[in-house]
């Protein structure tokens, strides 16, 4: 990725897509490294309700309480490309993403017409 990227605007809070284009979460937080005077560098994308609380105060804590404390950390090297969404190199389950959808699917499929 040669071009310049404004991580605050082009990455944070954007849709995450896996290799197959499956929607698998949002960029909830970024891990940035680099001390004073050094070049700051994004080292990982952080996904999951566990990260909300620290960003959104009381409302975030409430949302986190409902959403659970799940936290997933995806190294920046796993990012394939960034367009209007952030694309990952592998499939969602390999990162532990999209688990709730995968867990719900068998139940939803039991209702007739779910695969119409």
């Amino acid at each position: 990725m040669g071009h310049r990227l404004h991580v605050g605007r082009n990455v944070l809070d954007h849709q995450l897509l896996d290799r197959d284009g499956r929607r698998c979460g949002n960029v909830d937080e970024l891990a940035i490294e680099g001390g004073p005077g050094e070049r700051a560098e994004v080292v990982a994308i952080l996904v999951g309700p566990g990260w909300w609380a620290q960003r959104a105060g009381l409302l975030g804590r409430l949302a986190g309480w409902i959403g659970g404390s799940g936290r997933t950390r995806i190294p920046w090297s796993e990012v394939e490309k960034v367009d209007s969404a952030v694309w990952l190199r592998r499939t969602a389950p390999e990162y532990g993403l999209g688990r709730i959808d995968d867990r719900l699917r068998p139940y939803v499929e039991r209702i007739p017409g779910a695969r119409r």
Binding site: L16, C24, W52, R55, S84, I100, D101, L104
Partner: protein, 408 residues
């Protein structure tokens, strides 16, 4: 040919999406209370919904982003979550009101009790949503909603005083109970620019796989579809003025509205009116329940969409089922759906700025939008309507209190 068909379908969907219980109630009641004096508000509301629907549809086509993608992206998690909560509350209230409206319309056709009809309405909606493709749902409710055209025929047949009708298009304030007049003006704007219309419209564009090729289609759909919706609103207001004002009837019950078509045209018109209301309100129920699920899924990044079967986006499917059940619980308490409608419309005015500002920002972003970013016209109108919406948002609740929810 398929282009023309697409256009026709989109227009139908826009008409169906525009006229809902809020429009039915506010337009008819405004006509019954102030005659033709509030006609001028309708075009203002219609242009507003066209401007922001076109913008959100263009953003969807070019960047693949639906409304709540942009809300989260542009306002951040914290403020975005606030916007999400506000819009979910408004959506749920609107949904509850629409479900109540379906039951009221069905009551005119059957002898079953209101509560049984509420249950039937929710089951019918769930079955339709689960089994039909989105395009078929849009066609079904779009065509059905066209029965409302009977009100346009009725409006003309009632031979209104066209000079007075024309004078109604000149903006003015009524000397007679100005607070109530303003309450209706704000309500009419709120009903025309209900936020779910924009959520559903933009998400629908993504569901239909819109790309930059569909920008023209998007524009045509928004302009023609909502303009026809506005035309129906004008007809409803005129019928309200000609039938209900004359007889001193306040159409507080949704079931009274089709009588406005019956007076000049007879029994068949009554039936068409009821069927039109049933489909318009049913279609709006579908739009609102999906909007609620779309917004949540987009904000949190879940898989969403009806282009997949329900099992393709399980959390999304479960969400709309839960929303339907919540709305059912609200109306089963026996609360008057018309009352819920008025609150939903007025509170939606408060949630609107949070929805429209991010759309306006993204539509101007050259990085996403390139050559398709907002032109001067879209920006001037966008900013003007933002001001209109802010005024509406600030005055909505005080007016609701001053007029005791339009009862004064």
């Amino acid at each position: 040919m398929s282009k023309l068909l697409n256009l026709a379908l989109g227009i139908l969907a826009a008409i169906g999406g525009f006229v809902d219980i809020g429009d039915l109630v506010f337009n008819t009641a405004a006509g019954a209370t102030f005659g033709y004096q509030l006609m001028w508000v309708i075009p203002i509301g219609v242009v507003g919904i066209i401007v922001y629907s076109e913008m959100s549809g263009r953003v969807a086509a070019v960047s693949g982003k639906a409304v709540f993608d942009t809300v989260r992206e542009r306002t951040g998690f914290s403020a975005g979550l606030g916007a999400l909560l506000a819009s979910e509350v408004v959506n749920l209230l609107t949904l509850a009101a629409e479900i109540g409206g379906i039951a009221i319309a069905l009551q005119l056709l059957t002898d079953l009790s209101y509560r049984v009809l509420l249950l039937l309405a929710v089951v019918a909606l769930a079955v339709v949503l689960w089994t039909l493709h989105l395009e078929w749902i849009e066609r079904l409710f779009g065509y059905g909603g066209l029965c409302l055209l009977v009100f346009a025929v009725a409006a003309v047949k009632l031979s209104p005083d066209w000079v007075k009708v024309g004078a109604g298009f000149v903006p003015h304030i009524s000397q007679n109970d100005p607070w109530l007049y303003l309450y209706f003006a704000i309500g009419l704007l709120g009903a025309a620019m209900t936020p779910y219309e924009v959520y559903f419209y933009s998400s629908g564009g993504i569901e239909d796989g819109w790309t930059t090729k569909e920008i023209g289609l998007n524009r045509a759909n928004a302009i023609v579809g909502y303009a026809l919706g506005g035309f129906l609103s004008l007809a409803l207001m005129m019928v309200g003025a000609s039938v209900f004002l004359k007889h001193g009837i306040e159409p507080e019950h949704l079931g009274t509205i089709p009588l406005g078509a019956q007076e000049p045209l007879g029994k068949i018109a009554l039936l068409l009116g009821i069927v039109g209301i049933l489909f318009a309100v049913g279609g709006a129920a579908i739009d609102t329940v999906f909007s609620g699920a779309y917004n949540l899924a987009q904000f949190f990044g879940w898989e969403w969409g009806r282009y997949r079967h329900p099992a393709g986006a399980p959390r999304f499917s479960v969400t709309w089922i839960v929303l339907l059940l919540c709305a059912l619980a609200i109306v089963l308490t026996g609360v008057d759906p018309i009352m819920v409608t008025e609150y939903a419309v007025i509170f939606s005015a408060v949630a609107l700025p949070l929805t429209y500002i991010p759309i306006l920002l993204v539509a101007n972003d050259p990085e996403y939008m390139g050559a398709n970013r907002n032109g001067t016209l879209a920006n001037v109108l966008g900013v003007v309507y933002l001001v209109v919406i802010m005024v509406v948002a600030v005055t909505a609740i005080p007016l609701l209190l001053i007029t005791n929810v339009g009862q004064s």
